[in-house]
Amino acid sequence: MGPHHPSTHGVFRMMVTLDGETVVKLKPVFGYLHRNHEKIGENTTYLASMPYTDRLDYFCSMTNNWAYALAVEQLAGLPVPERAEYLRVILAELTRLLNHTCLAGFLLQDTGASGTPLMYAFREREKILDLFESLSGSRMMCNYQRFGGCRIDATPEWLAAARQLVNGYNAFLDEYEELITGNEILMARTQNVGVLSPALAVNAGITGPMLRASGVDYDLRKVDGYGYYPRFEFRIPLGDHGDTYDRYMVRMLEMRESIGILRQALDRIPEGPVMDPKAKIRGFKPKPGEHYGRIEGPKGEIGFYLISDGTANPYRYRVRPPSLINLTILEDLCLGHTLADAVIILGSIDIVLGEVDR
């Protein structure tokens, strides 16, 4: 299957061996979107890599920006103003809503519910993209975070618009869940399909909602407590069975928690600068050293490993792509299921090819 196949979410290829309709062997083939992100990152300055991080996981440019900014800030020991930290949390949670909403749409598309669920999802996506656009100037490629803060401050009108969106989001989720979550066809197609055991999930380095659907309580927002997440109250939804339905359900529940975080953040966001006044935009050269910084992206742990040799370019620039590593267990999940189920399992893993191949 692939690399041109409507159900592969991009140019992903699987070499599938079938017995009748049952999958007996499945080998993924990567590299059809290998855009040399890391090599380009080593040949440009630290700041010039920021727009490229947008294009890693092109649904979640804001969290990619944050992960990279966080890694560089920790490497160079830069402080971040309070308002910028709040804005980062707001934007990251909006990105989580965006990603999980689109995922639910695409997952339903894969089960054969062609069109309508995806239309609902993209209707909400457009609303969030409007917010991103009015803040950063671009719909998808926001390029918004900087080392030591954010590029542009949010206006009170923007915050009011964000609050309005957040207040209306629960209604959308209610509507969506009423239509889909209890749907008999969805349950029949997804329950007990692609069961992932917790032991295998941990050993294979699965992160994000995939891992938590298998019942492993590991969320970097709680574990690392990066940014201002320790200041917010939220719960981590966990799955019981680790099947495709759990992976869908965990994401729906995570969105409810994200709405809670967004409400708290929008209530408490302080006034102040969004950029550290001492932060150096041009001619930024961190001291020699190395650092691995990571955050909880919507798809899993996204991290950046940087080795600095004291020059303006990183000596080594490495992205830890959650989508690629979550694909490690694709064969284990698909064995014994039909080919149509393999499509749904791939959809529930939630990959973006820009990040898988980089």
């Binding site: 409507p6 979107l33 855009r35 993209f122 209707r123 457009e126």
Partner: protein
Amino acid sequence: MTMSDATRPAINAQTSAPLSGPTDADRDELRRHGILLTSIQELANWGRSNSVWPLQFGLACCAIEMIAASMARFDIARFGSEVFRPSPRQADLLIVSGTVTKKMAPQVIRLWNQMPEPKYCIAMGACAISGGPFKQGYNVLKGIDRFIPVDVYIPGCPPRPEALLNGLIELQKNIRGRHIAGPAPVEADSPTAPGEYPVPAFGERDLEPTSNPKLWQPPVIVRPDKP
């Protein structure tokens, strides 16, 4: 420094000579009397331009905006192109939406070869046009027009859905001016399979060949200011 247009290979000149016959004023006069005058060519082009079926083929970031263009807010159905076909055999339009890597290029050309005539190609986004921001990459093809003919280029990274719609309208205008018998015979086709574009092979360091010389030549640089 300018690129001289005369040196460009003129193989993709598909637009036919303007039709001779009744002028627009004549037709308006006839229409007032209830007579609709048309030609087979106009009728065919009208039909073709208003039911362009794109191939459901996403490469990278731009594909998401392509999907967004087909969704409720931008609604590509208003222009008759909502029927995204998963099979190239049923599609008229190849939207190259995103970065074409060297590993993917042969597959894109094969898809193009599998599409039936008349077929059109839109290069959507900076990457498909020239490699875009990833131009320095060792695995990135510097523009899909090195291998297949492109009708409309849409710049942007990624282009907004409105830009895609505008590109589609431009393509429709282009289609209305074409000859009914289709494009001129392809000069760039492969020697073994007539009508098809040659598919490059994977080499040890790069694609072989790196471009289709009949379709694309490196532009000639003319620098009158500096010798």
